[in-house]
């Protein structure tokens, strides 16, 4: 492959990966809802129901509150754009295509940018619920983002790089290095951070609009039509991204380390299966756990932060 062709392939792969995740994300949400409904003895919606909701919302025009400024209008595109960039740049399907571009700190920073944009939008409208949701979201984000960083640092100690693609391909080529106490601790920490960042039980309940408990729902209360569709789509995309990172960092097998067509196809298929399995596990877990009281949430998150720090320590000490 000449340099030009290789560059084109890499761009095409990144775009393809972003499209794959964007299409997959609502189905992941649909899968968790369907599994949950089945386990609770309800009929529930189909897998594609979130997509139908999105299509319906996308056809409707948005309305803005009278006092809303540019911050309110800009938040959904910013949230969606940051999520799409991460979806294209992080090593989900292939590692060779994104090597050197998907630094951990950039990825976490982009995710945080989306969170902050939404929290600012919640504050911008000046409603009681928006402000409450934004303040809760920031409380959670202050503990979750360091945990995200630290838990992946535990893996990068072994590899000697914070490039996600390098970490994933090192894990894929040397399976023994994945099963260490450090990575077990880091996996637990990252799983809790994923639950918090994705707004799932036990941190936030995605299926209620109860003012005592809601976090994400409180911030997006004022959105409607296209804007609401973007926000909901981006949230499901973020959940998919986090589940995908969890899957590829700790179960890296199947990801394409070389740029062959077959390898990339297998990588995509394996990725879809892994995310699907994680989504089912998430839904099953949610059936059996109750939401934590809001004041207990920082305990859980501080615990996950401590686990992540211990993971880094264990990686440095025990190797």
């Amino acid at each position: 492959m000449t340099a030009d062709v290789r560059g084109l392939v890499i761009v095409a792969l990144a775009l393809g990966q972003a499209v794959l995740l964007a299409v997959l994300a609502p189905y992941v949400l649909g899968l968790t809802r369907a599994v949950r409904a089945r386990l609770e003895g309800r009929a529930g919606g189909r897998l594609g129901q979130p997509w139908r909701d999105l299509r319906k919302l996308l056809r409707k025009g948005p309305t803005s509150p009278a006092d809303a400024s540019l911050v309110f209008v800009a938040a959904p595109p910013v949230l969606m754009a940051t999520s799409i960039v991460v979806a294209g740049a992080a090593p989900f399907v292939a590692t060779a295509s994104v090597a050197g571009r998907a630094d951990l700190i950039v990825v976490v920073g982009l995710l945080l940018l989306g969170t902050v944009a939404l929290a600012l939008a919640g504050l911008d409208t000046g409603t009681a619920f928006g402000g409450m949701g934004a303040s809760r979201e920031m409380t959670i984000a202050a503990l979750v983002e360091p945990t995200l960083l630290l838990s992946v640092f535990a893996l990068s100690v072994r590899v000697g790089s914070t490039d996600l693609a390098t970490i994933v391909s090192a894990g894929a080529t040397d399976p023994a290095s994945v099963f260490t106490p450090a990575s077990a601790l880091a996996a637990a920490a990252l799983a809790i951070a994923t639950l918090a960042e994705g707004g799932r039980i036990p941190v936030d309940n995605p299926s209620t609009h109860l003012e005592l408990t809601m976090v994400h729902e409180a911030m997006v209360l004022e959105y409607s039509g296209r804007d609401l569709a973007l926000v909901e789509w981006a949230s499901s995309l973020r959940l998919t991204i986090l589940l995908g990172l969890l899957a590829n960092l700790f179960v890296p097998w199947g990801v394409a380390t070389a740029l062959t067509p077959i390898g990339v196809l297998i990588g995509a298929a394996v990725f879809v299966v892994k995310v699907g399995l994680l989504a089912v596990a998430l839904a099953v877990g949610e059936v059996f756990t109750a939401k934590l009281r809001l004041f207990r949430v920082p305990e859980l998150l501080a615990g996950s932060f401590a686990l992540a720090l211990l993971a880094v320590l264990a990686a440095a000490v025990l190797g």
Binding site: T180, L185, E299, L313, V317, G319
Partner: protein, 221 residues
């Protein structure tokens, strides 16, 4: 994988488990949850002792020490603690001096401190497992923290037991194992401490109907 690789992996796993259970002891408020956590920690410690004993040149004494540690930490002490727990069933840390979120962050800081402090120890020690000594030191510090910030008699003794587990882990990892006579002495002390706690809790329950050490602030006739 060679045998020594396998051994090192197993010891690392046990050390990871020690850290995890130490954090777990800080995380959970219910006394009923602390006892299984302590048992698991005992199992991890016994595993370390047994794994090192299998490598030890003079094996017999090390094996006896491992068996002794196992019997004490996995069977006897959880049993005694469960008897104390039965005096005040449903006991939980309702108001620790430092709240759970902050104490978890403090535990993270203490672990970093242990890591920084253990550097010279690692350099000085000849044994290859000495790299894991910060885990033992972290356990000691977290144990002191639990003992200092908790209100219930049972939780405080759990903190002391964490300290003891940490000292034992450090001794196993940094040196060539503990002489039998030292281990016997430590074990006897430990059992005595837990027994004293049991008597204390029983008397407190009879007097106050609760096992909260804060009730012992004032003198009475």
């Amino acid at each position: 994988m060679t045998r020594s690789d396998w051994l090192e992996q197993a010891i690392n796993l046990a050390c990871g488990l020690l850290l995890l259970t130490a954090v777990g002891a800080l995380w959970r408020r219910e006394v009923s949850a602390l006892i299984p956590i302590l048992s698991v920690q005992g199992i991890a410690l016994t595993a370390i002792a047994a794994l090192l004993a299998s490598e030890h040149p003079a094996g017999a004494e090390a094996v006896v020490v491992a068996v002794l540690v196992g019997a004490l930490k996995v069977v006897v002490i959880p049993l005694l603690l469960r008897r104390v727990h039965r005096l005040v069933p449903g006991a939980r840390e309702t108001r620790p001096l430092v709240n759970v979120a902050s104490s978890l962050l403090a535990a993270a800081g203490l672990s970093l401190l242990a890591y920084a402090a253990a550097g010279p120890l690692i350099d000085a020690s000849p044994s290859p497992t000495a790299r894991a000594t910060p885990v033992g030191l972290a356990l000691v510090l977290i144990g002191f923290f639990v003992a200092a910030t908790r209100q219930r008699a049972v939780s405080q003794i759990v903190g002391l037991l964490l300290v003891d587990n940490g000292i034992a882990a450090t001794a196993f990892l940094a040196t060539d194992g503990v002489p039998l006579i030292v281990e016997l002495g430590v074990s006897a002390d430990l059992v005595l401490a837990v027994l004293v706690l049991q008597v204390l809790t029983a008397r407190m329950v009879r007097t106050f109907g609760d096992g909260d050490l804060d009730d012992l602030r004032e003198l009475h006739d």
